[in-house]
Amino acid sequence: METSLFDLAAQKLEQRTGFSALEARGTLRIAIKAAGLDPKSVKRDELRVVFEKLMPGELERRGVKDTAVICAAVIDELESAPIAESDAPSSSPDDVFRRLSKA
């Protein structure tokens, strides 16, 4: 089965925090939902924003130290990871509604 961006980010979070796989996936899911995004179709640039703006707070709440360093490291790893985006950019509702307004 193909690894999604979500799976990869959860793996990286697990490695850097010492969370279990379940804890890492759950924390990531909460942060992505809090950003108004769908874990199944989250894109790389959106995930970067999640790790920059929301994840440090989520990790602090769970007693993790050096959250900024951890998040920056995960962002770097995600940026360089050779993984296909889960969804074509032109197919999200935002993109469709934005495109239709050009009629």
Binding site: A35, G36, D45, V49, V96, F97, R99, L100, S101, A103
Partner: protein, 249 residues
Amino acid sequence: MEESAYIGGICVGIGYLVASARLFRLSLRTHKAPERLLSATLLLWGLSYACWQIPLVLNEESAFRPFYVTGRLLTDAGTIGSALFLRLVFRPNSLFANALVAGIAIGLLVGAGGSAWVGDWESIYPLRNPWWWIEWTAVVVSVAWIAIEGFHSHGMAKLRHKLGICDRMTCHRYLLWGLAGAIWMIYELVYAIQQIEFDVTGSYSASLDALASTLELIPIALIWLVFFPPATYRRWIERSDAKSRVSEG
């Protein structure tokens, strides 16, 4: 019915047809399914309005039934188109959405077929024709779906907007889309009351007619603001966003 009663219907029909033409023109450039589907939906709804207004303009008794039946079938086809649009754009991989589209389509077909079977071809006698309610329920479900997707997406887009990954206008479009669905729902309620009134008295009251016409006009105005917002409206939304950011900061 008052002579001017069809003016609102003509305005709504023209609104749908022009919106359909603009989306069709866009689809020729983009070759994307959502614009094709929405263009087809609005075309069907626009043509259905034409079917309802032509007999009123002609004032020809024999023209009513064929035009009304055709208009109703075009509305039903457009309603299936709108459900397909929602599935394609908001829930492309959802089995539940597939089932919902199928349920709406079956409800419309069974309702229309049943109405014809009991002789209510125009589907205007809800008290005598139980099939009427099946068709009506399918329409209500489809417009409720529009409202739910709009409001849910607006809530999610507001969160994205706070983080700077969704622009204000896109966020606002979802709200308008949801409002259009909500007003269509209220319209369907008023329409049911109107039809019951017609079934009992054999005529439509002017006040309910005026209310229904207004409720038909508002959603098409909202659809125009979603997809073809005037520059002044766009600027107003962006200015109000800038103001709220300043007050938050």
